[in-house]
């Protein structure tokens, strides 16, 4: 029963860079239609985990199943087809600075889904409206936008192709608390509207409480706790307790970066 609703499953995923072990056997399940947030300190392997699922990094070992298919074994066209299921909001936005806003949003539609530019433009402007940006913004270049607006454009690009799975990499980093909350609400709304599965990484606890259905904590390259967001405050795990309360003293050392 559980197997049928599992969208993403990581089994014993390992990754190292030279002699630096980053992932030491990550096990994680993300249920279909749920929003899973991975929390953890800097350098604990959050981004590497996400990049391994996306295929931007190749895992050294283990299995990463998306819809029951091991994505580590996919190459070439099959990998590109698999990518069409994904949408991604990057930490820094990663907008193409040579293209206007609407072309950034429409990029996956034009080049990935082979839509005409006119059709893609209409959808891009709809998606921009969905994230609270008017048509006037569509002709601007990314450099002409504020940080918050860039994040919105990046979110619009992530949802433009109506992906099954959306990844959020530190979605509120660098934003003021009000803008961060706006982005969190947009993420919840967009994921709900699309009925998508979401996998996010963050160390912003306000963001976690807003967007997560389930939470997993990564520490020293392993998932050490996972559970519903409602259980986060009484997890019974000293590492989780220390992290969510932001205490300097506790089992997590001050120099835990791997």
């Amino acid at each position: 029963m559980t197997e049928a609703t599992t969208k993403i499953e990581l089994r014993d995923v390992r990754k190292s860079f030279g002699d630096k072990l980053v992932l030491r056997g990550v096990d994680l399940k993300v249920e279909k239609g749920k929003s899973m947030v991975i929390i953890g300190g800097s350098g604990t392997g959050k981004s590497v985990t996400l990049k391994c699922v996306l295929g931007l990094l190749n895992a050294d070992g283990g299995e990463i199943n998306v819809d029951g298919q091991d994505v580590c074994k996919l190459r070439g066209r099959k990998r590109e087809e698999q990518m069409k299921k994904f949408g991604m909001l990057f930490q820094g936005g990663a907008l193409f600075d040579s293209l206007p806003v609407w072309e950034n949003v429409a990029f996956g539609l034009i080049h990935g889904k082979r839509m005409t530019r006119e059709e893609a433009r209409v959808i891009a402007i709809e998606k921009l409206k969905a994230v609270g940006l008017g048509e006037k913004v569509s002709t601007l270049l990314p450099a002409e936008l504020s940080g918050g607006m860039q994040k919105r454009v990046s979110l619009a690009r992530a949802i433009a192709t109506n992906p099954d799975i959306i990844f959020f990499d530190e979605p509120t980093t660098g934003l003021d608390p009000i803008m961060a909350d706006v982005i969190n609400e947009l993420i919840v709304q967009c994921v709900k509207d699309l009925g998508a599965t979401a996998l996010s990484i963050t160390h912003d606890m306000a963001s976690v409480r807003k967007i997560a259905d389930d939470v997993a904590m990564i520490y020293e390259g392993r998932i050490i706790w996972t559970g519903p967001v409602a259980d986060l405050d009484h997890s019974g795990n000293p590492y989780v307790d220390q992290f969510i309360h932001g205490r300097a003293d506790g089992p997590i050392g001050r120099n835990t970066a791997i």
Binding site: L56, M83, G87, Q91, A94, L95, G108, H111, T161
Partner: protein, 275 residues
């Protein structure tokens, strides 16, 4: 006696330790060199393979033709013009020592078409285009734009590398053809207006002396140099390290490696064509 023996043993151990360190350092450098050559060859192979596999990004390709070809015309043209002028002047002062001033037109035409136009154009384009490609792609790497391309189901090799390498390889021969004409014209200006040669005689001499393979060999060199410049720009940018320093290093490496490879391949191609 035993003190002397132990001191000798210690010295021998010290020397062998240093020798081993030296061997390890040389071995590491050799491994790194061959590793780099291997990675570059793999990258070049992928770039060439993707040229023949759809989808093709024609808009990107068009932009590169304009950037590499049209916008390099001025710098390549000026380089060729002054090289031709200097060549005529130098040949005159040199050849007049044994009364061979009449060969100036031939020397200018041969030097420009076979060597100077392709090599100087290659080096100028390496400075202008190789650096800009490495900086642009390197910045895209650092700001995760290349990762974003992948997540949007677009292969970065096809979108970023193929248009640049293809445009560079195809447009360079045209640039060099223009440089040939301007370079010969530079020699003509000096010969006619400064050294007192007859204009018709100079043109006739150039035309009669030049053979098609003089020009063709220069154009083949140009295509190879165009490939080298754009490939090195793309390779260094694509593998740029993080941060501003990484992009800076990628840009420097792109220009230096392309310039050195141009000089090496110039020798190899010259030997292949004329030996």
């Amino acid at each position: 006696m035993s003190d002397f023996k132990s001191a000798s043993l210690e010295t021998a151990r010290h020397i062998s330790g240093r020798a081993l360190d030296l061997c390890a350092m040389i071995g590491h450098s050799v491994m790194q060199f061959f590793g780099s050559v291997g990675r570059l060859t793999e990258f070049a192979g992928k770039a060439v393979a993707h040229v023949f596999m759809p989808p093709w990004f024609f808009k990107q390709m068009g932009r590169q033709f304009v950037d590499i070809g049209y916008y390099s015309l001025a710098v390549v043209g000026l380089t060729a013009l002054f090289s031709g002028m200097v060549l005529a002047l130098q040949s005159y002062t040199g050849f007049s020592r044994f009364n061979a001033e009449g060969a100036i037109a031939n020397v200018v035409a041969l030097s420009i078409t076979r060597e100077l136009a392709p090599v100087l154009a290659g080096l100028m384009v390496a400075g202008r285009i190789g650096a800009s490609i490495a900086a642009e792609i390197g910045t895209m790497r650092v700001t995760e734009q290349i990762d974003a391309l992948t997540t949007l189901s677009v292969n970065p090799m096809k979108y970023l590398v193929v248009p640049r390498v293809f445009a560079g390889t195809v447009i360079m021969p045209f640039l060099v053809l223009v440089a040939d004409i301007i370079g010969i014209f530079g020699g003509f200006i000096v010969a006619v207006f400064k050294l007192g040669f007859g204009p018709y005689t100079y043109i006739e001499q150039t035309w009669n002396f030049l053979e098609w393979n003089d020009v063709a060999s220069g154009l083949v060199k140009a295509a190879v140099f165009g490939f080298i410049v754009t490939l090195m720009g793309c390779y260094n940018g694509y593998n740029s390290a993080r941060g501003a320093q990484g992009v800076g290093a990628a840009t420097t490496n792109a220009v230096v490696s392309a310039s050195i490879l141009i000089l090496i391949f110039n020798y190899l191609l010259t030997q292949m064509f004329f030996s």
